[in-house]
Amino acid sequence: MRLDVQLRAREDVPRWLAYGTPVFTVLAALAVSALAFLALNVSPIAAYEAMFVTTLTTELGITQTINKAAPLILAGLAVYLPLRAQLWNIGAEGQLLIGAAAGTWVGLNVSMPAMALLPLMFVVGGLAGAAWTLVPAWLRVRWGINEIITTLLLTFVAVDVKSYLVRGPMQAEFGFFPQTDSLPTDATLPTLFGFDFYAGILAAVAFVALTYLLINETRFGYQITFVGSNDEAAEQAGMNKYRIYLFVMLAGGALAGLAGITEIAGVQGRLRAEWDPGYGWTAIPIALLGRNGALQVMLAAIFFAVIFVGGSSVGVALSVPAAIIDVIQALIILFLITAEFFKRYHVDISIRRPDGPAAPTPEGEV
């Protein structure tokens, strides 16, 4: 008996498959991650229970999830928006660090009432993030230089800039640690409605709504979508694709910068050298899972927030290395890529007996 696998190109992608992909991807990644738990002698059921059920049923779990979700949503949008125009902002992490540093500087050096100071910090953080994409955006528009490479490489520059700042100009006056002073109370986000989570989530949700409206309701959004689908046709239609490229890149950088300052003004309270959030990297699978729309980006970001929060409590409760989160994240990316394959091909699996003809293949989906 032998397994006979045949591939056929799909004539078209069924709707359920196109929209169900993110769900299947996540389920597949969790199923394979179960093997990692088994290898650690931990019951995957107990682990996933601790990861999801406990996180989402305790007040602390929910609070932490919301606090994590805020920067993840913003960073996810930072990758999603350029992706609508078929540009890849791989360097959201760098824009996020620069936005965080610029916003922190304002918080430490400008004294104003909180009502004015916090918005100013966010504006400056956003502008700094946008400025960090200015060069990649310009290179892309003017010379067609691949933005994947330029945004990625500028991230490493950003890491060093942040590191220099907290060891140099921005280092706390009376301290030996490479970190800034704590932000004054006026420069930190308040918590909301008597709960323990910060107001950053409001900004994140507001930007989800704005992005949704931009893409789905405005004339400019129509053009972004069109350029993303076929930039050559868009040019012939008289759309200015360079203006669109410039806009989505700068807006993406701004969103990443906002993600950075949200985290600093909320959870962190100060900028530290060892602060290395990685949200800008996680933003890539978030944007890919949520590529169908801004609301989907938000859901994907919340999912990753749960994994991060749940992952660390699993780590503590069941003595599992925290790297398990990276495993899940990596598997999600792998399965996302695999899903593209299954969208394109139809796989027939049949069992062939050694002496007989192939068993008739049912027209089953994969």
């Binding site: 045949q6 004539e11 078209d12 069924p14 309701e217 405005t218 004339r219 400019f220 959004g221 129509y222 053009q223 979508t225 069109f226 689908s229 076929n230 050559e232 046709a233 868009a234 040019e235 012939q236 239609a237 008289g238 759309m239 200015n240 192939a358």
Partner: protein, 564 residues
């Protein structure tokens, strides 16, 4: 007819979500005949052939080859059964030689490892060793025998193809012959040709027909897919007509007229003679003087174009593919920058202006490549319908009015009879057949009531019914006073529609005439570089459609042609 048909397909049915592509189609092909398969785009011809070639499996129905049931799961099964297919887009690897392309997937081990071969210095025991053999079969390539076989085949059927040449050096007609050789090399008895003339010049097509006649004389059966009636009459013995996935019937080609075939195919009368009313031409809408432009690679493609298009006039530009038509069309609508000269629209100098400025000045454009430039394939029909009008205030201000867009798209789809769109918000441009997509694009461009319409190959790859419709629309637009610059490789189209005819050759307008005064032969000559080339090398014109008196042509196919 006492003899059994060589191939029988019976009651073939294939359903795709929402469409029955083949609805109980029967097809029988005799040995040694050229059997036409005729139908409009989307009639189900390709589906039927993909089933026969093992690419799709039929939902119902049986296939018999030489009286035996065929069970086809893959093209390999089809090839094993002796069925070959030449696709419209060639499946050749440009960087490999003709011989390597032909043997691809059927390698012979190098000479020393072949059965019964002289071991060529190798120890016989090494050559016979099972492991060595299996490695050799996988990793060595012997081209001597295959090359000899290819040469033999080429000679037998009168192909002059250089087996050592790399594919990129060959012109389109030669590449097609390589595809046919590939099939012959695999000893096929039945050859499927999918719209083989779509890429050929008329001369090359004539040559292909000669080849096909030789093949059928040798007992090969050929299925010839087409939507061109002229070709059906010219080459086929019998023809099966499909319409909307249904089998309309099979007839002896000699017994039917072109109009009868057209009626079978379209389901109604088709007018071959277009009504062309006299229209008085007005002021010039497009004036180009000394326009030069480069192609994609930065090589000069237009070398000083002068032309004028007046209101209510169709100016036809004839020429062999690749003589600057694409660049000419793009430059006249502002998509491609000119390097010299002036372009005026309605009297205003627009040289160097953006595509948007041209659009706003009332210039519409039907690009030659519908998918690359004419639409956003994965966006809904409605997005594509407003591609040029998205700035119009009827679609709202900053907020884009998608309801108005939907309504507008529905109107266009209705008015231009774009089929296959159940919902303009859902069906994407890539779902439309070539003809219907072209209708949508022309609808979009005409609905703006332009002053100037530049149409590059507007009916290429489009079926008869749609061609008629598109041409009528162009004439109607001419009546409305639009000046039209029509670029086409189809001389009939140029003759039927144009008020004036220009011939473009190597980036220059080399000849001007009117349909009434025109002499087709003269135009054919001018398209190929003027009178001398014909007397010098008539054969070369027939082969490649490119001039041979031009010494600068680096890939001159004549220089190295011929079996050595």
């Amino acid at each position: 007819m006492a003899e059994d048909p060589f191939l029988r397909m019976e009651g073939i049915r294939k359903e795709f979500p929402g469409v029955v592509a083949n609805d109980h189609v029967d097809l029988s092909v005799r040995r040694g005949e050229v059997h036409g398969l005729l139908g409009e785009n989307g009639a189900g011809k390709s589906t039927l052939m993909k089933i026969l070639y093992g690419l799709y499996s039929a939902d119902e129905g049986d296939i018999y080859l030489d009286g035996e049931v065929l069970d086809l799961d893959s093209p390999q099964d089809a090839i094993d059964a002796g069925i070959g297919m030449v696709h419209q887009h060639f499946m050749l690897i440009q960087r490999l030689s003709v011989a390597r392309n032909v043997v691809l997937g059927m390698r012979e081990p190098s000479k020393s490892f072949r059965d019964g071969a002289d071991a060529g210095g190798l120890l016989a025991s090494v050559g016979e060793n099972g492991l060595v053999r299996s490695l050799a079969e996988r990793f060595t390539l012997g081209l001597d025998e295959p090359e000899a076989k290819i040469r033999r085949l080429a000679e037998e059927y009168g192909f002059d193809v250089d087996v050592g040449a790399e594919v990129w050096e060959l012109d389109v007609g030669e590449q097609q012959r390589v595809e046919i050789l590939k099939a012959l090399y695999r000893d096929v008895d039945l050859l499927i040709l999918d719209e083989p003339t779509a890429v050929l010049t008329p001369n090359e097509a004539e040559r292909l027909f000669e080849t096909l006649r030789k093949l059928t004389d040798e007992g090969l059966s050929i299925i010839f897919i087409t939507h061109k009636l002229k070709e059906v009459k010219a080459i086929t013995d019998r023809v099966t007509v499909l319409r909307d996935g249904k089998d309309v019937g099979t007839v002896e080609t000699a017994d039917v007229t072109r109009s009868e075939l057209a009626r079978m195919m379209v389901g109604r009368e088709v007018l071959f003679q277009l009504e062309k009313d006299a229209v008085s031409t007005g002021a010039p809408v497009l004036e180009a003087e000394g326009v030069r432009a480069d192609d994609q690679r930065g090589i000069e493609a237009l070398s000083g174009i002068d032309l004028t298009v007046h209101e209510g006039e169709i100016v036809g530009v004839a020429g062999v593919s690749g003589n600057g038509q694409k660049e000419l069309a793009e430059t006249m609508v502002g998509v491609r920058e000119s390097t010299a000269g002036t372009i005026s629209v309605n009297g205003a100098d627009m040289s160097g202006d953006s595509p948007r400025a041209f659009i706003d000045a009332g210039v519409s454009f039907v690009p030659e490549d519908r998918h690359q430039y004419g639409c956003a394939g994965d966006l809904p029909v409605m997005h594509n319908a407003a591609m040029k009008e998205f700035d119009d205030e009827r679609f709202g201000g900053v907020r884009f009015d998608y309801d108005a867009l939907e309504e507008y798209a529905e109107e266009l789809v209705e008015e231009f009879d774009v089929r296959g769109v159940h919902d303009v918000t859902d069906a994407v441009a890539d779902d439309l057949s070539g003809g219907n997509l072209q209708k949508l694009i022309l609808a979009r461009e005409i609905a703006r009531d332009p002053d100037l319409l530049v149409a590059n190959q507007p009916t290429r790859g489009v079926d008869v019914g749609a061609i008629e419709f598109l041409r009528e629309r162009l004439l109607e637009q001419r009546k409305q006073g639009t000046g039209i610059l029509l670029l086409s490789e189809n001389l009939d189209e140029i003759f039927d529609l144009s008020d004036r005819i220009l011939v473009v050759y190597e980036g220059e307008i080399v000849y001007e005439t009117t349909p009434a005064a025109a002499d087709r032969e003269r135009i054919g000559l001018e398209m190929n570089g003027g009178a001398e080339s014909e007397s010098a090398q008539p054969e070369a014109v027939a082969d490649g459609g490119r001039p041979v008196d031009d010494g600068s042509s680096a890939s001159d196919p004549v220089g190295r042609r011929g079996p050595e």
